[in-house]
């Protein structure tokens, strides 16, 4: 089984704007059918589109972030076809002069060593979304035009992707980038990020390369579905080729739909004739000129993007690629939070551990955002510093953080109120050590006879000392005094 997998994605992203691409109509998701409409988005006779400048700016921002070249002059075209979810029976889109050219998405490196490299972009253009058809019982179809006219970015990649995991990674990286840019919420379930995948195989046999017919997979409603559908489809194509030997020269591109429930792809109805969209320039809109000053303002508005941030976390804070990625892929607010804590403490690795273990777990459990997390970066930094200075041990720190999350109080107050201050009094700890050794003669006996490993016995005795001091004893001091006591007892 020697073949290359060839995958290209066609991605649609709804841009997050308050009003639609060509009208003042609102864009809120999840409202009753046909309530987010106005005469323009309904395509009522006599209405005219007016370009939403904000939407165009978000598109420019995205293209710049995807390393694309911005066209100085771009225009709108009408794509003509009849379908009930398209109120005007034409879609305002871009044909021969899209607003950007080229660009690429970084394919993230995976833990297993896979991934890496770039996926080139064939084109990125802006258009208006269509409405939605809902097929009800009894062969009845209902049209919801709430979605009609929402700004939609079409991103078509080159066939640069070589595995289903990379396809997923590429799409996840795109989502992360768009979320960092704040241009889209990219929810596949809600349809603000949609993806179709084109796939075929280049089979190597006897020094020849044979390409299988291309299949477009639709109905991919999650990142998991993208990966699973591709895995399924690759196997299916390979088996099919072994059965019928059909190659790309023998069969046209076909469309298959992914069934989440059955985990298979199934053939979808094909159009009987090639569609002719009769594109022509949209006469109701004027061309857009993206001048240099406008582009400069947009470039300035773009903050640090995920790829750059991962690099910086590794170089500035010395984090491992794994840790850097975990913090970055949680989203901009988590990465910002980490930046703040790390800078305030100077304890980069500790800050990363505390955030990954405690902060992320809590916000996941409580389903809150970092913005809602009650402990501010400075407060967490203060707690980490206390642990680092030895005022608290790690377990105490954990407990205090729990209280800080509950109450919103700073560590200082909780420490005072809860008597958390660590005991570093030599005499007090020495007394506790003596008591522990006296109460456990069998431990000394075991040590003497070498029945157990010394570390295990010492650990047990350390636990006894901590128990006596209510967990407040300075662990370093306990260790030191216990070593001294044991040395004395074993003589």
């Amino acid at each position: 089984m020697d073949y290359d997998i060839i995958i290209g994605l066609e991605i649609h992203v709804q841009l997050q704007t308050e009003s639609k691409m060509f009208s003042w109509c609102g864009t809120e998701f999840g409202l009753p059918p046909n309530t987010q409409t106005d005469p323009v988005s309904l395509g009522l006779p006599g209405t005219l589109p007016v370009m939403n400048r904000k939407a165009f700016e978000l598109a420019l921002k995205t293209a710049v972030a995807l390393h694309a070249e911005i066209a100085p002059f771009t225009k709108w075209d009408r794509k003509n076809y009849y379908y009930p979810d398209l109120p005007k029976n034409y879609q305002i889109s871009q044909y021969d002069l899209p607003f950007s050219h080229g660009g690429w998405i970084a394919i993230p490196r995976r833990k297993d060593g896979g991934g890496g490299g770039r996926c080139g972009l064939t084109r990125v253009h802006l258009e208006e979304d269509t409405g939605k058809l809902m097929h009800a019982a009894g062969g009845l179809s209902e049209v919801d035009l709430n979605r009609a006219g929402i700004p939609l970015l079409e991103i078509v990649t080159d066939p640069d992707i070589r595995s289903p995991a990379d396809a997923r990674g590429c799409l996840e990286e795109l989502r992360l980038t768009l979320r960092y840019l704040g241009v889209s919420d990219c929810e596949m379930q809600e349809g603000s990020l949609r993806c179709d995948a084109n796939v075929n195989l280049h089979i190597h046999r006897d020094g020849d390369t044979i390409a299988t017919p291309i299949v477009e997979i639709k109905n991919l409603n999650s990142f998991r579905a993208v990966e699973k559908a591709l895995i399924y489809e690759i196997e299916r194509q390979y088996k099919k080729w072994r059965d019928d030997g059909l190659t790309i020269k023998d069969a046209a591109k076909t469309t298959r739909g992914w069934s989440d429930a059955e985990e298979v792809t199934k053939p979808q109805r094909e159009k009987e004739t090639a569609s002719d969209y009769r594109y022509f320039p949209e006469p109701d809109l004027v061309p857009v000129v993206a001048d240099l000053a406008w582009l400069a303002r947009i470039r300035e508005s773009i903050g640090e993007l995920p790829a750059a941030r991962r690099d910086r976390f590794e170089s500035e804070y010395g984090l491992s690629p794994y840790d850097a990625n975990v913090l970055v892929e949680q989203g901009q607010d988590v990465a910002d939070y980490y930046d703040d804590v790390a800078r305030a403490t100077g304890q980069y690795k500790l800050a990363s551990n505390w955030i990954q273990q405690d902060v992320l777990r809590t916000i996941k459990e409580k389903k809150m955002s970092v913005a809602e997390f009650p402990v501010a970066p400075a407060a967490l930094a203060d707690l980490i510093n206390r642990v680092e200075r030895g005022e608290l041990n790690t377990n105490q720190g954990r407990e205090i953080l729990g209280r800080m999350i509950e109450t919103g109080d700073p560590a200082e107050i909780i420490i005072e109120m809860g008597g958390y201050r660590m005991v570093s009094d030599r005499d007090q700890i020495a007394a506790a050590v003596d008591a522990a050794v006296a109460a456990n003669p069998q431990a000394i006996d075991e040590l003497k006879r070498g029945k157990k490993k010394p570390e295990a016995v010492k650990g047990f005795l350390r636990g006894q000392v901590m128990k006596q001091t209510g967990g407040k004893a300075n662990p370093a001091l306990v260790g030191e005094l216990l070593e001294a006591k044991l040395a004395e007892s074993l003589q």
Binding site: L44, P45, G46, T47, N89, D276, R278, F280, D284
Partner: protein, 495 residues
């Protein structure tokens, strides 16, 4: 009063000599008695009266009123008026009542005008005779066996017959100027972008422009000022200040270089029309104008280019009328022809609705437009036509380097007989041979009355000016109007 201009009515209203209510009662009465002309497709007396009473009340109470306060304006039935039927002369939109006002309608309302009915038109503004209407033809008030021109024939006839002092129409290839010419009134197609198209039900978006009909230039200037200006709802409307057309109308233009276009005196030009135009040129000469011959070599490609661009846009603009969201929906869409059984019911519904809803000329243009945009043909037709359009624009640019305005006939013939050209689309298309190039170039064009044939049919003089030079156009036309009395002629319509 039936032949009064808006300017005269406004003077009467301001002096308190007459009320708006009295004006509209008189006009409603006349409309009732002239129903045979088939000018209005919708005229609601109660709605008209309540508007008139409201404006009279405001005037009496001393409130400030707009520049058209109390003046009735007839509206071509493709301009959306909130809650009022707006049918485009089509069966397709028989039940359509827009939930919003066209921008020109809002501006008329703001100016205090009374919306006086919706006027008949060729279906979706496609035609030159108003015979392509689902509501039957409108008759020419000068000779009721003849057409009033088109597509804005209802609005032109309304003004000519004294059913409204002023009216609005739309002009895609001559649909204001040609009916104005054959109805003996003034008609202006403003520069593309001068007047907002928002709420104008589109025929061909890159060519359509709304404009006024009136008895004379003073009224034309008045209404033009009221409807012009930038509209954030129309991206193609130009953000430029609007000159005070009425204020400057009386001042003769500083420069009066007039270009006579030989291509406008070609084959098919009626001799009586030609001699009236030659006479008009002499009038200008006597007024001190420099007359110069200026060629528009590409104008003969105007009709072919237009009949590619306009149908192409129309095929797309009219695609939305499929019975799904609005428009006529066929009650029966069972398969009628072999092969239709395999089509989805939804597709058959769209097909049957469009087959029933549209008339023959609209279907002809949709098919033409679909064809010229099709893969493999677009380069040959549509893209070629866009090149011709640029050449025509260049012709005008060079011409206007030499002269201030261009002069010629509006229409090659006076009003023709009802039915005379209905079976010959090409003959019908040639009615617009002199007007179409202005739409392709986006420049303003004006038709003013300049004579009557021996059989008492009006003749129109067309003046063309550079883009956004309406002020110059009106002032130049006023030189002629001042020297003649054609604008005072009225048809003897029997009530």
């Amino acid at each position: 009063m039936n032949s009064a201009t808006a300017t005269a009515l406004l003077a009467g209203l301001e002096q308190g000599a007459i009320s708006s209510e009295e004006i509209v009662i008189g006009l409603l009465d006349r409309a009732d008695r002239l129903k045979r002309l088939n000018v209005f497709v919708h005229l609601d007396p109660d709605h008209v009266l309540s508007q008139a009473r409201a404006i009279d009340k405001r005037r009496r109470s001393g409130d400030s009123v707009g520049p058209l306060a109390g003046v009735p304006v007839a509206i071509k039935d493709l301009l959306c008026v909130e809650g009022e039927p707006t049918t485009c002369g089509s069966r397709m939109l028989r039940t359509f009542r827009p939930p919003y006002d066209a921008t020109v309608i809002s501006r008329l309302k703001q100016a205090g005008a009374i919306l006086f009915g919706k006027t008949n038109m060729d279906e979706f503004a496609m035609g030159s005779s108003t015979e392509n209407s689902a509501y039957g033809p409108t008759l020419n008030p000068w000779d009721e066996t003849r057409v009033p021109g088109g597509s804005s024939g209802g609005s032109a006839a309304a003004v000519a017959a004294g059913l409204a002092p002023i009216a609005l129409g739309s002009d895609t290839g001559g649909s204001i100027r040609q009916p104005a010419a054959v109805c003996g009134i003034v008609g202006l197609k403003p520069t593309y972008g001068r007047v907002s198209r928002y709420g104008l039900i589109a025929f061909a978006s890159s060519l359509d422009q709304i404009g006024p009909f009136a008895h004379d230039l003073a009224d034309t200037a008045l209404i033009l000022k009221a409807i012009s200006g930038h509209d954030p709802r129309d991206s193609t409307s130009v953000d430029d200040s609007v000159p005070d057309y009425p204020a400057t109308l009386g001042t003769p233009p500083e420069s009066l270089r007039i270009g006579v276009v030989p291509e406008f005196f070609g084959e098919g030009l009626d001799p009586e029309v030609e001699s009236a135009i030659r006479e008009a040129i002499r009038v200008y000469e006597q007024a001190g104008a420099t007359i110069r011959k200026v060629s528009l070599p590409n104008s003969r490609s105007g009709i072919p280019a237009y009949y590619i661009v306009a149908p192409a846009e129309c095929s797309s603009n009219l695609a939305r009328y499929d019975g799904t969201i609005y428009g006529h929906r066929a009650a029966d869409f069972s398969p009628r022809y072999p092969g239709e059984e395999s089509l989805a019911p939804m597709v058959r519904m769209m097909m049957a609705s469009r087959a029933e809803g549209f008339g023959a000329e609209v279907k002809r243009r949709i098919m033409l437009g679909t064809f010229v945009l099709s893969a493999g043909y677009a380069d040959q037709y549509y893209n070629q036509a866009l090149k011709v359009r640029r050449l025509i624009r260049n012709d005008f640019d060079s011409a206007f380097k030499e002269v201030d305005v261009l002069i010629g006939p509006t229409s090659p013939t006076p009003a023709f007989k009802l039915g005379e050209r209905t079976s010959n689309p090409l003959a019908m298309y040639l009615s617009d041979i002199y007007t179409i190039t202005a739409n392709l170039a986006g420049i303003p064009g004006l038709s003013i009355p300049c004579g009557l044939t021996k059989s008492n049919l009006p003749i129109g003089l067309q003046l063309l000016a550079p883009a956004f030079a309406e002020e110059k156009l009106l002032r130049t036309a006023r030189v002629f109007e001042r020297a003649t009395d054609w604008h005072l002629k009225r048809p003897g319509v029997k009530e």
